[in-house]
Symmetry: C2
Subunit: 462 residues, 2 copies
């Protein structure tokens, strides 16, 4: 072929084949214990985020359409009593895990990996359990690790250009990991795994323009559903191209302007991206977290009160401005990606929890007034996980706080107990009837369970 | 906003609002009679293509996965006895209409508009009919016209760069038209239509890399399903961004490098893109059609026999080479986008029908041998709907045929009778038990029907 094309040099690497072979041939014994433990933390946080999101309006609307169209309802939903067919349950549990921006984050890519990957595995496990062919907890954890690895590696290969252009990276990369993970549970060989990745790649979708709106949920829900569908189809022989990821008009060439194939493949099987997963303490865009920590710290300084503040200057990585600089928001949902609102609640309420991202809170005049006094400055020298906030007081005094690593970041990771606490808090808030203690116990003991399908009943309403 | 971004200048036009308002406010009386007639031709050809595709392996595999997961089975399938829920039926009928490359073509964009748009409307009409709330035939035709208009206008705005980069344009643009059309049937106002377009835009997907493989079917099936889902959700208040198409990180900015907003909006309501729809005489990639006509003409020249041919030189638009220059194919599916196979069967069989695109035909040594003697030349001066074929005989004689407009193109459109004949032929081949005569009659009389839900039962197996 003589055509000039950005990905031409990528064609020869056989990236999809290498990735498919790795997933297909990976053995549970190869995984370090710390990696399996991180998979459990990822699962716990997934359920926490799902409890946090399970009462959102977007969930109710989606269920009003999907429940009447559901097939055999083998799949249960985090924090809900409704059931859906396997594909529908994968979709909905991905949505609830991601809808509040309370989910996990792979910082290098800003992917939230659990939402698109865990739900298809849990739905498949529950369906297999109902059919008398249970999937073991160890196999589910193994598949989760591999799915996160594929998702984040694909993200690494396209970052930062892909997300910056406007692709909602959790959706576009998540669908590949969902397919890989579900395909692993189904025991796909390398050829069929390649097909699954191809059927996933061609479903990759999601626009950043939808962030802050109900429509965002489609990106993550479809990634889960589409990845599971791709694996189910590949298992039945549904064929695809041999180079869906690196081919001339394949995934990387189409969705990235400068793919880095080495970021996709280097260290495959030696390091696992799930080791780099982090868990949010605050239910909002991850780039806002160091800003919150800075505001909470400033709030303890003498004289820092809302009515004494003339101006708040927030300096951060350009992504902070790009993702969160929106002057007027009208819903709690939008507020989760709004810097001004977040600064307002952090300085006034001294908190940035679920209670701070409601429609009512957005309408609060005091918070709005303080938000209007926020100035954003881009600074490429500040890493995305850091932020500097300066409060100029009417008295003429200025106070500054610099946060290098927000709470919950890799530099200051949440403890196991903090993740448990997050799960307990959110379950109490939105689904107090759920068997949360038993769920936590079941996740920590998942590698001993012969039937991972027993997990979802503990997360759903009875 | 001070960020430099390709779409910045596009933001102010309110393109989504204009498009949504047009669809929402369009009145049936505004449509010229010729446009309504073309909608019927589009529907007839849609069923023809569906009959042609309904026995394909990809269909069987998809049904083996989707039937057991189906919800309430209100939706029937072209040429099949199985039923699926509304979303599943929209998906499957889009697949069968497109799987054989026998569908309609909007030449400026190479979009095949009916496959993603007609099935959601037919599935919705059948579901509404079952619920005792029938949709009239005129309303369905109206919605089909608008859906094709939206799909092809969006395609116009991104052509030729979008498809050339590797986006499967029928999927990526079809989802918007499917949402607009289904939204029209649901009576969405402008605001909700904007939401439907947003939920569709964020689901836009499909890689050219999958063409020739089962995985391609996901692009078109998901466009139909995703568009219908977007409209159903918008109808329930599922909100989206206000500028999903022209926003800074919206559809055009993300999926196109040089969007032309005037091609999207100019003449809205004055001209309808469905007037430019064409219908294939041959079940293969549209760019191959003038090549087939040229080969069929050459075959009538003295001395042109397979064993007397030294070389076949095909000159055409660069897209011909890009889409169809694949030396070795092994399946009938791949052969549908393979120039060498197509030249082989056209010159040897004197035909390029369904019988020429089978796995067995691909394995035919005589056809392979002739295919190996085909040379492709790019010529930017030759339009995409034209081709020049020269046959060099071993005798030293050369014969050349130039086809400016293939049969079935806008320059030589199929007659109504030829479309009926295509439908009859393909139904006889794959679904002889279907009520084809009644189906044809029902489509021509659709504007008189109070219940468009009565159409699918005539296309399905009893």
């Amino acid at each position: 072929m003589t055509q000039a094309h950005p990905s031409t040099d990528v064609v020869s690497s056989g990236a999809t084949d290498k990735l498919a072979r790795f997933v297909s041939e990976s053995r549970l014994e190869d995984l370090p214990a710390a990696v399996l433990h991180e998979a459990k933390r990822t699962l716990l946080n997934h359920f926490a985020a799902g409890f946090g999101g399970c009462r959102e309006g977007a969930i109710e609307t989606l269920l009003s359409v999907l429940v009447p169209l559901s097939g055999p309802a083998t799949g249960q939903l985090t924090g809900r009593a409704e059931r859906l067919d396997m594909l529908g349950a994968a979709f909905m549990n991905a949505v609830s895990s991601n809808v509040q921006d309370y989910d996990d984050t792979h910082m290098r890519t800003i992917i939230h990996p659990a939402a698109p990957i865990a739900p298809p595995l849990l739905a498949l496990a529950q369906s297999k359990s109902a059919a008398g062919q249970p999937i073991s907890g160890r196999d589910l954890l193994h598949a989760l690790v591999l799915g996160v690895d594929v998702t984040c590696r694909v993200g690494n290969a396209m970052s930062p250009g892909h997300y910056a252009r406007g692709w909602h990276i959790t959706g576009t990369c998540g669908v590949l990991g969902a397919a890989a993970a579900a395909g692993k549970l189904l025991g796909l060989d390398t050829r069929r795994m390649t097909w699954a990745l191809g059927s996933a790649a061609t479903q990759a979708a999601g626009l950043v323009e939808t962030l802050g709106f109900d429509a965002k949920s489609l990106n993550v829900g479809n990634a889960a559903r589409g990845g599971l569908l791709a694996a189910l189809l590949a298992n039945k022989g549904f064929a695809g191209p041999t180079r869906p990821i690196e081919g001339q008009r394949g995934y990387l060439a189409v969705m990235s302007s400068d793919p880095d194939i080495s970021a996709l493949l280097d260290g495959l099987g030696r390091s696992y991206e799930i080791s780099l997963n982090t868990y949010k303490l605050y239910p909002c865009g991850i780039v806002l977290h160091p800003v919150i920590d800075a505001c909470l710290e400033l709030r303890t300084r003498p004289g820092v009160r809302a009515d004494a503040i003339k101006r708040v200057v927030v300096r951060g990585h350009p992504l902070l401005r790009q993702r969160t600089d929106r002057p007027r928001v009208s819903t709690g949902r939008e507020a989760q990606v709004c810097l001004r609102h977040t600064v307002g609640v952090s300085l006034i309420d001294g908190a940035a929890g679920v209670a701070q991202y409601t429609d009512a809170k957005v309408a609060d005049d005091t918070i709005r007034a303080l938000g209007d006094r926020v100035v954003v400055e881009e600074d490429t020298s500040i890493p995305v996980e850091a932020a500097r906030v300066t409060v100029d007081l009417v008295s003429g005094v200025s106070e500054t706080a610099y946060i290098a690593h927000a709470r919950g970041s890799l530099g200051r990771p949440l403890s196991d107990a903090e993740i448990e606490d997050k799960l307990q808090t959110l379950a109490c808030l939105n689904a107090p009837a759920c068997a949360v203690d038993r769920l936590i116990e079941a996740v920590w003991g998942l590698d001993q369970s012969p039937d991972a399908g027993k997990l979802m009943p503990l997360a759903a309403l009875p």
